[in-house]
Amino acid sequence: MQTSSFIVMVLVLGALAYRLARRRALAAVGGPSGIRQLHSLPGYYGLLAAIWCVFPALAVLGAWQVLQERVLVDLVLAHQPGAAAGLTDDQKGLLLNDVRNVVDGSVAAADAPPQVQAAAAEWRRLEGIGRLAGGSLALGVGLAGGLLVWRRVGPQMRARNRVERLVELNLLLCSLLAIATTIGIVVSVLYEALQFFRMVPIGEFLFGLKWSPQMAIRADQVGSSGAFGAVPLFLGTLLISAIAMLIAVPIGLFSAIYLAEYADRRVRAVTKPLLELLAGVPTVVYGFFAALTVGPLLRGAGQAVGLTVASESALAAGLVMGIMIIPFVSSLADDMITAVPRSLRDGAYALGATRSETIRQVVLPAALPGIAGGVLLAVSRAIGETMIVVMAAGLSANLTVNPLQAVTTVTVQIVTLLVGDQEFDSPKTLAAFALGLVLFVVTLGLNIVALQIVRRYREQYE
């Protein structure tokens, strides 16, 4: 029997528990006419019984599913004929893969060697037994849970309060998922990164000037020692982010000022959503745009004035990233500017200041902390941006600040190291996690500072 049919059975059982517990509650007070004597509405009794029936049963089913796989592996290997007993772990893994393929049907059983066929048959038999046992256990648990509640149903039972406490608990668990995610990120990335630092000293990683993450297959191969000095990557990331900010901050800030202070309502109503279109475009589209349109354009422009521009120049990637960030900066700046109270502006006008003087000397200084926070958030986005640089920036780690040359970034290296087949014990793969750790720590730091600034600023004028 399939697991899904057991799930359906559990749900049916839950519905049954609901009906029975509800009826029992009503019966306990002599039918609908005595409903006033019940502590809760009858539905709550049913709900409580159903909850205690369905959730434990599903939990058992889920846990069984996870455990069954491991037990099956051990059992099938243990039942192998004598020759297989002395297999190494690798050979066992290969054998298991063959067995699984036969079981899935992705390899026809007739094509497999007899040993694998026997093992597959064994696997199927055990799996069937396991499923049946797990399903029965789950149904039993569900039945017991439902029965337990059903027996205690009576006018005095505080069914509503109990259901509500369970609901609240559920809500709390959902909101704890945010913390779980953060912990998950920190633990998983840190764990792999620490393994990496066991192979490559952390000092060399953070301050080394050479990045060439090749690992030789044989020890005596030429260039067998990979170099994991990440400074060129950090520099490349900063260079591209700086170019992006040079584009995005002036344009974003000035357009926010113009739209908030000068433009009349109709212009604003058309222009603002138009600019925000840029924020809705997926980054992979920007990457394609940068690699195919902007890159060649800059190269051609460079040739026209006698400059050699790499076709994957930092300038192209930075420029397009800047375009992407414009709406981000402008909408944040817009928020901050409109949050400055009207009275400050009126005061400045009353003293005879022109509009631009009011903006420059009153509004902007008042909004500055908020804008600074917004710019920091934008920097953190630029640093973490992936697709644009993967598609438009280079792969080779050049230690340069020349925007016309190709540089590579942290995110590009993470992608190139991890895309494709990988083993989790080579420094090449683990290096990606070390880079990810740096990325996470830096962006987290920027975010915390920026959010703190923005929040404090917002409170100031509220």
Binding site: E164, E168, N170, L171, L172, C174, S175, L176, L177, A178, I179, T182, I185, S188, V189, P250, G252, F254, Y258, Y262, A263, T271, L274, L275, L277, L278, G280, V281, P282, T283, V284, V285, F288, F289, A291, L292, I323, I326, S330, R355, E357, R360, S380, G384, T386, M387, V390, T411, V415, L418, V419, A432, F433, G436, L439, F440, T443, L444, N447, L451
Partner: protein, 433 residues
């Protein structure tokens, strides 16, 4: 007016008057700078969309060549049995080649023939096979059929090959151009709406590649994302907004959510790789894992927008419900939640739109594999639209540029629809209290 006062204001007046010209000029400059910034921004918008659409609309049409195909009995039914199995396994490529040779009888040399055969896509064989299987009476007949052209021919037909460039600089040689021109002169070339682009899966051959596989992959991934992130996000928002006591734990949760919203998406990909794939052993490239990763990524956004929607419900509603004797849970479930649902749905759609456009974390969990089949389930290998864009943009064939832009247009159309739905939802159901 008393004279001393007048005497003291006059120099100030003069000073102000003297500086006015400068001040007005700087005012105009400042204003012009603002206007210029807005204009530059709009120019960027127009430029981005124009280039994508100009490059991509061609992908919606595809070139076909009309050839006289001889359904020779010797090739299709050598045993004369009329058996279906024979028809199914016959060498249809030979029919295509024969048709081409008949069209250009002067070509006899082997390398030249190979170039000639490259005019027609390998999908043409499948096309002929389907025709014959649908109508076995065709065997022994002769018929004029429109066959799918190869990508270079397609580029030629769309005028994307610079004929004046030296032969070595273009990937279409002179004789192919000559053959093409002869076909075109005989009205044997036509562009048709590219159905295969919308119904086919990925392919190594540009003329056969379609986005449907990626669209289905995206849909499956989004279904997982929505099914998980919306209930969990709403539940978390309800807890934080309606039930949470103000203490260290809830503060921590809040700070966490705000920070997670700003963590680079690629970090979520690393998490997915390490936890879902390496630790839990879930299959690579599966929409299930993609959906899980995107769930973690969109949850903060959905929680934040859902909280805003809950905040917008006035306290009087809650007080009225509580006053009527409802419990806090009943108040929220029966009154506050239904009233804030449109706002939450709007937030969810916007979150889904962001998830649809996301590709970096999906690269990490292996959704970049070449998948020619349309994915069938949550655990079969799949790719998603933005990753398909990435994959095609990496392909060396010139014809994939157009496909990539075409796929981008499809992606942008989906995003447009979703955002429009969010706007409509907001304007339809938003209540002003």
């Amino acid at each position: 007016m008393s004279s001393p006062a007048a005497a003291s204001t006059r120099p100030t007046h003069a000073k102000v008057a003297a500086s006015l010209r400068r001040r007005y000029r700087s005012e105009r400059l400042f204003r012009a700078a603002g206007l210029a910034a807005v204009a530059i921004g709009i120019v960027f918008v127009v430029f981005v969309f124009y280039t994508i659409i100009a490059q991509g609309y061609g992908a919606f049409a595809q070139t076909y060549l009309r050839l006289e195909v001889d359904y020779t009995r010797e090739v299709l039914d050598p045993n004369g049995t009329h058996a279906r199995a024979d028809l199914e396994s016959a060498d249809y490529a030979a029919l295509v080649k024969g048709a081409l040779r008949a069209q250009f009888p002067e070509v006899t040399e082997r390398p030249e023939l190979r170039a000639l055969y490259a005019l027609v896509s390998s999908a043409a064989e499948v096309q002929l096979r389907e025709r014959v299987l649908a109508n076995p009476a065709l065997v022994g007949q002769r018929e004029s059929v429109w066959l799918l052209a190869k990508d270079q021919v397609d580029l030629l037909a769309k005028g994307q090959v610079d004929r004046r460039a030296p032969e070595a600089d273009r990937n279409v040689d002179d004789r192919t151009i000559a053959w093409f021109d002869r076909l075109a002169a005989g009205h044997r070339v036509a562009k048709r709406f590219n159905v295969g682009f919308f119904t086919g899966g990925d392919s190594r051959e540009p003329e056969q590649a379609g986005v449907w596989g990626a669209v289905v992959g995206s849909l499956l991934t989004l279904v997982v994302t929505l099914a998980l992130s919306f209930p969990i996000g709403v539940a978390a928002a309800v807890y934080l907004e309606e039930f949470a006591p103000r203490n260290r734990l809830t503060d921590l949760i809040e700070v966490n959510i705000n920070n997670l919203a700003a963590v680079p998406s690629i970090v979520f990909g690393l998490l997915g790789l390490a936890v879902f794939i390496q630790f839990f052993g879930l299959p690579r490239s599966a929409p299930l894992v993609g959906g899980l990763v995107l769930t973690l990524m969109t949850l903060p956004t959905i929680i934040i927008t859902s909280r805003a929607a809950l905040k917008a419900v006035p306290p009087s509603i809650r007080e009225a419900a509580l006053g009527m004797g409802a419990s806090p849970v009943q108040t929220v479930l029966h009154h506050v939640l239904p009233l804030s649902l449109p706002g939450m749905l709007t937030g969810a759609i916007i979150g889904m739109a962001r998830a649809l456009g996301e590709s970096a974390p999906l690269l990490m969990i292996g959704m970049v594999a070449f998948v020619a089949d349309v994915p069938r389930g949550l655990t079969s290998a799949a790719t998603v639209l933005p990753v398909q864009v990435y994959l095609w943009s990496n392909s060396p064939e010139r014809a994939f540029v157009e496909r990539t832009s075409g796929a981008i247009i499809v992606l942008l159309a989906f995003l447009l629809v979703m955002n429009a739905a969010a706007v409509v939802l907001r304007s339809r159901f938003e209540r002003r209290w």
